[in-house]
Point group: C2
Chain length 416, copies 2
């Protein structure tokens, strides 16, 4: 029987990981500049958490959770990180003594979707959560940070799409307006959406059905449901984005697929991504902590999909190259070679040794395949002379070098 | 209802993550010097993989797997990475065109153990796999690499414990000798071990029962089961370790808890870790590929437990400090401040802004708690003068600086 990667998942192969590493280390550096600190929560949680945080009637909770039992516990592979981080914030008292906690995370998320193009069952998020305050300047910072990351990654052509759901009262008013507007089209909506109108009307706006989309896109509700405070908050955020030169489009159909959002919500879309065009998304979730712990805590955050980022990144050659590939011929030479390999590595030169019993030709071939800049050849003959041969793989030329000078010789050329 | 982290797992908090980041980035740098490339496999696999790779009669497969069903698939959270990487190597044809594939991984592993001290249900491994050759020099490299990592982490006092199980024939002979030796003590062994003698005798050597341990430690089997080739391989490895000055102890009870091991096996133990004293472990698994795909492929690797490394690391202050904390008083000042914050970050200075409505005192207090080196205070008064106040948090002194010179002023002091 052939063993395969689980349906709907994929391996990230050695040829691909350098780009992932680069994106993540850039993100870590920038998060640090903005004073966000990393948090790592387990990849699974108690199932109750997501039911309460995301909402019982969301697609994620109803259809996409990988649930498993262990003893009396019902666990679920986390479908997203915000709920986990809110849980960790509360449980570990991370708000104690500080007004604002700025956290970031990088890691795998899981949704038990039917495997399809652009949708993986294990995918990866890079995100931030700023927890503790309701100030609109914090919304601006979070969006500016998302913008900064994309620019540092070298991604262009993206656009922010933004909306405000308002506070709990506004959101209820928004829901009512939506219900009224949709009621007129009820018969044309899909069966799921007909139910959603009463159960959770915002989910109609996320429906993938073409007819439902057509109707929702034609709705004109405006931001009439926003109260004075929420209108003013939203205006301040838009003004701030203008000031920082961040391009955005206000889109009244944008509500995000999770119940915990309130206030400002946004997505970053990119034309190269096709149907699943969001690179990432975020917004305020001031009422999540009310839901989880009956506490009034303002919070805002975003997450990028790493797989999506990979699609939007400019293509370029990896800068990670093997410096030296050492090969020996004969037993005496092998011992001497391993010593050299160790010394090169200690000197910070990336280096590998040919551990096979192959011919010189096959060893040079391997050096070539590994993309090594230099091959070093050591035979018993060279040992007797105290010398070795350095072959410049690109240039084709070679040079004899004293064994004792070999590390210095290589380091000097690499410095140039 | 209080929401909690899943039983037997823990959050890695913002105060702890800098050390994790440092360990991982050091490991990545060293792996690169040794020409190991990162691979990332999904955190879950089809359950068949581990049954075949680890062995049906191992504790892991029988008792410690988090299994879940999705449609017709039976998935399991990976208990370790070697089997996954072997699967990925085969499925993605990673051996094509090269004699040796050197891979590393960093990530979470899962075992559904009864929660107890020193044992987490989600823990983390850093490991390598060198796949394609049987050369003993490769065993030496892998052990030398493990040693190099520990030294770079600043860990000392550790010791390598090493043994050889020999090839398949030798291992069978070893098992027979063990059965004979244990038969005499059968009545004293625990019930599980009485069964293990016939089912999988090596597992008796891993038993945590005190009486069983006493008996297994008293056994004298020697390496008499090793054939000429395996004896010579083992001797070469020990000689190589001597040459590199790596301290080790040969221990005939060492077999490792997984069926796929053959040939040289080793553990790294540290006295500070108590009962669970292994920092990491590894060895050869030349027969894993036979088991999975009926192929003859030599392979050797190791894994460190990251949680274990954390326990053995020397304690030190984190070097990650916030450079500047900016606070404004008044509306005009807020806008000007946010501009400064952006400029400081663009200049590579880590910086945060006080987004609260608090008093100057509360804002300075926050700067203090965040450990900021400088506080910058901007009020409407300062705006009118085109100046701001830089407060040196440690030294207690402060200076007035022209707004336009602020970034340069801070960068100059940080350079010193």
């Amino acid at each position: 029987m052939l063993l395969q990667v689980p349906r709907g998942t994929k391996d990230i192969l050695p040829e691909e990981t350098p780009v992932w590493q680069e994106v993540e280390s850039k993100a870590r550096r920038i998060f640090s500049l903005y004073n966000y600190a990393e948090i790592r929560t387990p990849v699974f949680e108690n199932v109750t958490l997501f039911k309460r945080a995301l909402g019982d009637v969301t697609d994620i909770v109803q259809k996409q959770m990988f649930v498993f039992k262990q003893g009396d516990d019902h666990f679920v592979l986390r479908p997203e990180a915000t709920a986990s981080i809110a849980r960790a914030y509360l449980e570990n008292n991370l708000g104690f003594g500080v007004k604002l906690r700025k956290l970031f995370y990088i890691g795998p998320m899981f949704r038990a979707e039917r495997p399809q193009k652009g949708r993986l069952r294990q995918f990866h998020h890079i995100g931030v959560e700023a927890i503790g305050l309701t100030n609109p300047n914090l919304d601006i910072e979070v969006i500016e940070l998302a913008d900064k990351l994309l620019r540092e990654f070298g991604i262009s052509n993206y656009k922010f799409v933004i909306n405000s759901l308002g506070c709990v009262k506004d959101k209820a008013k928004f829901a009512d307006l939506l219900k009224q507007a949709l009621a007129k089209h009820k018969k044309v909506l899909c069966k799921d959406c007909q139910k959603r109108i009463t159960k959770n009307v915002f989910r109609v706006l996320d429906c993938k059905n073409e007819k439902c989309k057509e109707i929702t896109h034609s709705l004109k509700i405006g931001q009439s449901y926003l109260c004075g405070d929420c209108k003013s908050h939203f205006d301040k955020v838009l003004k701030g984005l203008d000031k920082f030169g961040i391009k955005y489009e206000v889109k009244e159909q944008l509500v995000r697929g999770l119940d915990y959002y309130s206030g400002v919500v946004f997505e970053v879309v990119h034309p190269d991504l096709g149907a699943q065009d969001a690179l990432g998304a975020g917004g305020r979730y001031d009422y999540l902590f009310k839901e989880l712990a009956n506490k009034e805590i303002g919070a805002v955050g975003f997450a990028f999909g790493e797989e999506r980022l990979m699609l939007a990144l400019p293509k370029k050659e990896s800068s990670k190259k093997l410096n030296v590939y050492v090969m020996s011929l004969g037993d005496k030479a092998a011992d001497k070679s391993l010593e050299l390999v160790k010394n090169l590595r200690s000197a910070g030169v990336s280096c590998d040794f040919d551990y096979s019993d192959g011919s010189l030709k096959s060893k040079l071939n391997e050096a070539n395949k590994l993309g090594a800049r230099f091959a070093i050849i050591i035979g018993d003959d060279e040992i007797n002379k105290g010398k070795l041969v350095v072959k410049f793989m690109q240039e084709g030329k070679q040079e004899e070098v004293e064994f004792v000078n070999a590390v210095g010789f290589i380091k000097n050329i690499l410095k140039e």
